[in-house]
Amino acid sequence: MINIYEVNETNQMIDEENLDVRTITLGISLLDCVDTDLDRLCGKIYQKITATAERLVSTGEEIEREFGIPIVNKRISVTPIALVGASACKSPEDFVAIAKTLDRAALKVGVNFIGGYSALVSKAMTKSDEDLIRSIPEALACTERICSSVNVGSTRTGINMDAVRLCGQIVKDTAEATKDRDSLGCAKLVVFCNAPDDNPFMAGAFLGVTEGDAVINVGVSGPGVVKHAIEKVRGKGFEELCETIKKTAFKITRVGQLVAGEASRRMGIPFGIIDLSLAPTPSVGDSVAEILEEIGLSQVGAPGTTAALAMLNDQVKKGGVMASSYVGGLSGAFIPVSEDKGMIDAVQAGTLTIEKLEAMTCVCSVGLDMIAIPGKTSAATISGIIADEMAIGMVNQKTTAVRLIPVIGKDVGETAQFGGLLGYAPIIPVNEADCSAFISRRGRIPAPIHSFKN
């Protein structure tokens, strides 16, 4: 039987070390809503989301109460809207009508974000894909809860450089369209390479076309718990350090598995995957950077950061994988700058640069995430940064992503405020050497040689 020490350990993780289930994300397929008439399409989308997700928030709250574990977010992901709207939408403005419908449905069921305002264009774009991408700035400016993503490359297809070029401009336009809120729209826009179909984490969540009608995916978190656990092995060897991280990741993930199973049973919707991620928040004691510092770095960004992160990421997966029946999504350590107090401090101190962050993304999930850059950065430079990150994903057969916020009207030395879980970020300098001749080339970068595995 469970003993008092084990009970106290669990409750201490929750009370003092910020253990939580970060998100229950309900994936809803909208493929059966497809219609040639835009009004009818919007009506069906609203109906399907509000009916399927009617009990999402109340079920999440019930589970929170009964098990005593906070579930921070209840969210929805939907089929990429570029597919759903393809036959009804004739222009970017038509897609904005769907965005507004999604926003209303999200408000109705009480979720804080709905992901899937997305296009999958890793090889080429249809007219519908392009219209959706062009509608993103307006869609994110006139809604509150929509999250958008564009998959512009994969190991199998290479990188669609036409989409990369377009996305650089779209990031810039989204920043302009939301400049009164420190370009907040860009915090809800992710550009991916190798995007997974079952990612429960925003802003990049969407329900892939390979998924069923509805599915429950759960993202766990707990950087504070890992930090606290490894404080006890300070100065010990790597074997002991790695064992401690694995055991802790196992415990955290088991809680996620329990919550996912309960949510699935109570809502009568199949369980998909657990995403084993260390997802930080801006609060003290909930930081991935603090784990790296506890491992032995004076500040994140110091030499050794990439190695420490690679090790951390691997141990989290090894510990978590046995705790869950199905693992998927992004699974790893997140390093979003504005959402992690330790990262923010390191950028402010000049220890952490965008180049070091890029190196870190080679060994962890997901990419250049929530990084505020000067508002004057050109669209071509943003496309260049996106292309670099996509190349890392393509060649290393991993998911990478870019969520940059060119904060209009602000420059290096100033800070952008996004609020809530999105946090705040000091503006980081960007290499401004021109790459426009590279970005303006048409077509795509071919798939790498090691993608031919058949």
Binding site: N3, N8, R65, R254
Partner: protein, 90 residues
């Protein structure tokens, strides 16, 4: 059987167990096990209870216990036992 774990934390005083058990008896909740320690005057108790025959909903008895704790200056919480079993047992 449907098990819950009740934890009681706070400054030691007369009658803590009596008051908690009195409430549980009134709600038809059976106590299966109690373990308790006192460190530096601080009371730390864990009860394993069976709520399958409880005459009220989880949210009612969990809320009542939490309020009882507030009345006597203690932190009392009731959680389903699976969270601990999942985390600490294979």
């Amino acid at each position: 059987m449907r098990k819950c774990i009740i934890t009681v934390l706070g400054k030691d005083q007369v009658g803590i167990i009596a008051r908690v058990c009195d409430y549980l008896a009134g709600a038809n909740i059976n106590v299966l096990d109690i373990s308790q320690t006192i460190v530096d005057g601080y009371f730390n108790m864990m009860m394993v209870v069976d709520v399958s025959a409880a005459d009220r909903d989880f949210s009612v008895y969990a809320g009542d216990l939490s309020r009882l704790g507030e009345d006597i200056g203690l932190n009392i919480r009731c959680q389903r036992s699976e969270i601990f079993e999942k985390m600490h047992r294979l």
